[in-house]
């Protein structure tokens, strides 16, 4: 029974949901499900988990660019068939994990992975992303697929990870460093709670295409979309349209999300804001939001040097200044933000001072601060 374009309802199947996960567990995982006793990282990117049954599973984690062609996926399958009984998994941060159930199988797998390079010369399967290092950068679509980005995604991630490559393949840092990128304020991904967040920002208010707007948008939705109520109904001659109060606009782009006739992307306006000190785990301290470190860096394709340099500097400063187990946010709170800006040689500007709804809760209501 093949697909019939003229009768979509013909034995149509819907709502079956995802395939059951268990069929994809390698045997050692299925047999030891819920029985794991402890784990150890043998070397960066290589983990062993030991079961109450005495069974062991060795995991080799490799960094993937999460944009993957079927070609590279097939190559991953070849490797999994060769070494891993035909199973493989992806992590929550888009790394790939190859698992073997016996130490003897480990080195051949590692050697195989290390050997593989792209035509352009980059490694296909860098091993790492474990423990107190930098792991894969969670990111979004950027110029590759989305319509609202202020920056690219994959290209910036590639540039940053080339620079931090040794920290992906090593574990010299005081604790994990989780870097995320979102190409607009919609923040697809947990960038608002990352050790370091790379965020695409606009800096010009949307312009309104009066002739188009009533045709292509539901004007009331566009108006309601504005968090700062900067958009008001108005008229251009006979045309029902909207007017933007530029002084109230903070460039979130939500109006454009709702209405294609209000574009705000612009080469001169758009760029990157860097945020630091967020975390998600409940380990030691509660989860934290990332806070603004650098309000704006221009888009610098193809390699975004300023962004890369700034991130590298923050990571190195953290590496040398923080105590073991201290995430970036815990470290900064211990030394104080005034010291962070001083040591990181970052300018403190009015943009750093919150002025949104909860702003008052970020002001310093004590005489305690450092010189």
């Amino acid at each position: 029974m093949a697909f019939d374009p003229n009768d979509l309802m013909k034995d149509r199947i819907t709502d079956i949901g995802p395939p059951h996960y268990e069929q994809f567990f390698p045997p050692v995982i299925k047999e030891n499900y819920g029985k794991w006793k402890y784990h150890e990282i043998l070397e960066p990117g290589v983990l062993v988990h030991v079961s109450e049954t005495g069974a062991e599973v060795y995991t080799v984690r490799v960094g993937g660019c999460r944009l993957m062609s079927v070609e590279i996926i097939r190559e991953i399958c070849d490797i999994a068939d060769k070494h891993c009984e035909g199973f493989v998994r992806w992590t929550t941060r888009n790394n790939v994990e190859f698992m073997v159930d016996n130490k003897a199988k480990l080195q051949p797998l590692i050697d195989d992975l290390k050997g593989r390079k792209f035509a352009g010369g980059s490694n296909k399967f860098p091993i790492g992303g474990t423990g107190a290092g930098v792991t894969n950068i969670v990111h979004t679509q950027g110029w590759l697929h989305c319509h609202t980005p202020a920056i690219d995604a994959s290209g910036i991630v590639k540039s940053v990870l080339d620079e931090l490559y040794d920290d992906f393949c090593g574990m010299r840092l005081p604790a994990q460093v989780r870097i995320s990128l979102a190409c607009c304020l919609n923040m697809c991904g947990a960038v608002h709670c990352s050790d370091i967040a790379i965020l695409g920002v606009h800096r010009k208010p949307p312009f309104v295409e009066h002739e188009r707007i009533s045709k292509v948008c539901e004007v009331p939705l566009a108006i309601a979309a504005c968090p700062t109520a900067a958009i008001k109904p108005s008229k251009e001659g006979e045309l029902k349209t909207v007017a933007v109060n530029n002084d109230r606009c903070m460039f979130c782009g939500n109006c454009y999300t709702m209405c294609p006739a209000m574009p705000l992307a612009n080469a001169d306006g758009d760029g990157i804001a860097l945020w630091v000190g967020g975390k998600v785990s409940n380990s030691r301290c509660a989860p934290k939001f990332s806070k603004l470190a650098v309000p704006y860096i221009p888009n610098e394709p193809p390699r975004w040097p300023t962004t890369v340099k700034t991130i590298k500097k923050i990571v190195d400063l953290y590496a040398s200044d923080a105590n073991r187990y201290e995430r970036i946010g815990e470290w900064i709170e211990r030394i104080g933000w005034e010291k962070f800006f001083e040591k990181a040689e970052l300018e403190f500007r009015h943009e750093h001072i919150d002025d949104y709804r909860l702003a008052m809760t970020t002001w310093r209501t004590t005489t305690q601060f450092k010189w």
Binding site: W143, L185, P302
Partner: protein, 424 residues
Amino acid sequence: MALKHKTPLLDELEKGRWPSFISDIKQMAEKKPMCEDLLGVMERSYEDKEGHWKHGGIVGVLGYGGGVIGRYCDRPDLFPNVAHFHTLRVNQPASKFYSTEQLRNVCELWERRGSGLTNMHGSTGDVILLGTTTDELEPVFYELTHNLNMDLGGSGSNLRTPSCCMGRARCEWSCLDTQAITYDLTNTFQDELHRPMFPYKFKFKTSGCPNDCVAAIARADCSIIGTWRDNIRIDQEAVRAYAAGEFAPNGNAHGTGATALDIQKEVCDLCPTRCIDWDGKNLKIWDENCTRCMHCINVMPRALRPGEDVGATILCGAKAPILEGAQLSSVIIPFIKMEEPYDEFKEFVEKMWDWWMDLGKNRERLGELIQRLGLREFLKAVELEPDPRMINTPRYNPYIFYDREDVPGGWEIDAVAFRKKHHA
């Protein structure tokens, strides 16, 4: 072989040690004109520092309100092969284990009917099939459901594809069957996932323990996080072994190898509630003061384990900034057992959704509605008693909405009697 468009800027991204997505796309471009033009659009964006995609409009598969993100190029004149470049979100298997057979089938299908490019995975967790034309959407869906036993994930004002950490599959700390929960919820709520009925998107994420490896507390309207009610299990022998340097601290996360662990400094002093005593021989944990942060367990995985009376803490409201600012999830159910068929939890979910669908404005996330109407109203709706574990601190402003029922005579003041007592 020479590609259709020169890409001097993108070529810079083939250099360096980290895997190059450009190199990868180029492999495809040799077979797929769509990918050739995609490289062209990207190069163009790299030149003028602006994206070249337009809003999606409504494309999708019959009977579903989500799962497809429409996308059109704003320069079809120059890049005709990506004039349409729609995306399908395919619901991943929980915790993302795959057989190579399954993956090869996906590849075969997607090379034939799409760009051959994917995201493994999208931020929500789906397998993203990146880029195809409108006419391919139904055939792809047909083959997914008939031949690959797969279905679409969520988009739009739907339930979004639930996801979870690997949990018990390969982690010793999981207090939950994260995959089982995710699989059950996904299937129980297929209708909500495929047909828009909510004010806005809604996300479930499940982590097996407070380390929260799927970032549920930051990204899910309903965060399900494993925890325990009894005591941390201690193997004193192993604790001493850590002190003696027989094991690598923190599962060797610092690459130190087996080396003596300063338990006082690296465990006791970093415990947020300082509820651990170490006398050099025995470790004493005052569990009544433990907040189950995982730190000590993380540092000594061979000596400490979560308790055995396990369940979940349910937190609600996390979201990205748009509209009212980013939120983390807040504790709503401090502890709930999570055992199939999860009836108690599902009843909670139904009450939560009824309230949200009833009172939520268009594009108002659950967390924003709770902000607007107050946690108290939400608790009433889901029939839960207030608990100090839901808050960091009680109110400090005196603007209290007292209950009319608690006030003798309710809200009435007898004006005449008042003025008899108090002359104007």
